[in-house]
Homo-oligomer: 402 residues x 2
């Protein structure tokens, strides 16, 4: 059979843990595949704060960016904490803050009765549990052709996890309601700001539209355990359906504000714009996620006979309605089965399609549609920072059926 030729750039992880582009046809695909399945030992050791991760499942891009290798994602909907990706904008704070998690303090501002509350107090106000997809804005950056700064994530800067905490609405109600004129929820991370620089240059402070007040939870539990430091413990803001950066870690201040944060990360960072343009506040912010899916098995080669193609799909703020799978580079599509359990609108859903393929090489990919009829795009237009490549074209895997 004809092997579909897929033009794309692939990455090898070099000795220093730095991504190196490979443009050799064929070789690129193989390198991509080997890197993805973890046949190479990690080239950089896990950082101390994440030393409890499963090393063979992780690509260590830098000390602050750890990716989950594609085929380590299973079909159980929930991604276990020990293989979940990590992306920190700054060094995490000292681990002492999770040793006495209930004592962590958060300042609430822009409410009728502003005050500081401890996690211990927040735990008295209410409980909600919500599974969400956590996805870095730069997930898929490695699939763009242009050189965008940041880690060259493939698919593994994403995972679906279960959060428990207090609904922000319950806290706001306890504090007398939101101050008049507020249009944003502005959340500040508890990272230590290095001395001698303008705090706004590095401060992790993100604003999201105030409508999210009814879905945000302040989470002290992830996947049934206290939120680990690597994932934002003692307390993390969870904005369901929004990119990871909005889910501020070690949150120390929650403010209802009239304007967006003055921090660079809000004003000019995480802004979608053409390649070569500078970031500016009038460009779209990386808030709500797009509909997206990808295949997690098979990814390299598989015996002939029956094959269960499976993967994950999500719709950002909308539930996934359907997933189609193509084994011929998008020329034809078959409807996949969505697997139970359905963890809710903000979670991802596993899908499976049983096929029988003769020996050969196939470009296998998936295309999700959400409940509003939004269809996963075929290709993602380049954007300066290489945010969220969601096109089913380059999310495809080249699989050899033996």
């Amino acid at each position: 059979m004809d092997t579909p030729v897929v033009h794309r750039r692939h990455f090898l992880i070099g000795a220093a843990g730095v991504a190196v582009a490979s443009t050799v046809p064929g070789m690129g695909g193989l390198a991509f595949a080997q890197e993805a399945i973890g046949t190479q030992a990690p080239t950089t050791p896990l950082p101390d704060y994440a030393s409890w991760k499963k090393p063979e499942a992780m690509i260590v891009h830098t000390e602050l960016t750890l990716e989950t290798r594609r085929p380590f994602i299973g079909t159980s909907s929930v991604v276990p904490s020990n293989i979940l990706f990590v992306r920190n904008n700054l060094e995490p704070p000292d681990s002492a803050i999770v040793a006495d998690a209930d004592a962590w303090e958060v300042a609430f501002e822009g409410v009728a009765q502003p005050r500081t509350m401890t996690v211990r107090e927040l735990k008295q106000l209410g409980i909600a549990t919500v599974p969400t997809v956590l996805q870095c804005s730069g997930n898929g950056r490695g699939l763009f052709d242009h050189e965008a700064s940041g880690s060259p994530w493939l698919t593994g800067a994403a995972g679906c996890v279960v959060w428990s905490g207090v609904p922000l609405r319950a806290v706001v109600d306890a504090l007398g309601g939101v101050a008049e004129g507020a249009r944003f929820v502005t959340n500040t991370g508890g990272e230590v700001i290095p001395e001698g620089i303008d705090a706004n240059e590095v401060l992790v402070e993100r604003s999201v539209p105030i409508e999210n007040v009814d879905t945000i939870i302040l989470a002290w539990e992830m996947n049934g355990e206290p939120v680990p430091l690597a994932h934002g413990g003692p307390l993390r803001v969870i904005v369901p359906g929004y990119y990871g950066v909005n889910n501020v870690k070690y949150v120390k201040r929650i403010a209802f504000t009239e304007a967006e944060s003055e921090a660079d990360i809000q004003q000019t960072g995480y802004r979608v714009r053409p390649v070569g343009e500078s970031g500016a506040p009038d460009q779209p912010s990386m808030w709500q996620m797009k509909v997206k899916s990808w295949v997690t098995h098979p990814v390299v080669e598989t015996p002939s006979g029956p094959i269960q193609i499976h993967g994950v799909a999500f719709g950002g703020i909308n539930p996934v309605q359907r997933v189609e799978v193509s084994t011929d580079d998008g020329q034809s599509w078959q409807e996949a089965q969505l697997l139970d359990p359905d963890l809710g609108r903000y979670a991802w859903r596993s899908f499976v399609l049983p096929v029988e393929l003769p020996s050969g090489t196939y470009s296998i990919t998936s295309r999700a549609t959400d409940s509003e009829g939004n269809v996963q795009e075929q290709t993602t237009e380049p954007n300066h920072r290489g945010y969220d490549y969601s096109g089913w074209d380059r999310l495809a895997v080249e699989v050899t059926v033996l």
Copy 2:
């Protein structure tokens, strides 16, 4: 206020990891509480095959029985693998079997075309994902008054986890269907049988009614990772809604049989009978679980003010319909809220009830009702082996509101 006096026996874990009954009123409650919250360091180290568990969360009864301390269960529905209880009937096999999981072989008998299949082959036949409550038959044994042999589990020989694997139905269909006359699915564990003894004395082989062929899955994945050795990897039989013992680990043989297994574990073990009687095949087998719930927070003491009482509830083969909570030893009840996500009929559901209690001591307990109207019992009649204490009376916690 009056402190309700709860007559019950409590356990201290002694230096040898052996449970010691405490009958000192007051002291018993305190010991129970301290033991439950994990203020005591583990007295027995974790066994090698489970060394990756979180030590402070586990009560090590023996090398083969590890219990989750009650307040380590959160509100996220899924119990993370590193705090899930362990109960093995025999030493687990060598860990080499999980290192090459796909090569593990299972013999299928009592089908039209009997044969042996590898996990690799099973993975080609289909995929289903099902969250289930895994609960040891002896969970709650420590709450009975009589001395029943076995570990004195409190509430922590139970957890809710997500399994992925192939539906047994898909395998049976691939093998030409079930042989005529079969009434049971009989599953044999892959433990090494010590030499010089009658295999039936120790063989882990359990039969369940054949109706379960449509719900059983053969799981290679638990909570999104390959099933660890401690939990039955490479392949475990999952019989949703059934006690743990039926969920045979390292399964090496799956047979459709006319009669139940000849192994003692089926014939005389796991049979419910009055105290003092021997086990016999005409007594009820520990198959389907009962409706049950318990409070996981607060368990010892809590500051006054608003309190979020939370816990877990399940209905065996039926979904939980409602949970009520009492703070006065069962004299009055209030309806609790069932938390999302709903992971399906075989999972447990977290519940929460916000209350305000003045300073004092309270007996707090919960009572679940399943979709068929079955109500959790008030007390559990003694049975010889101390199986599944489910009464809301002794599952209560004594809590001091400061």
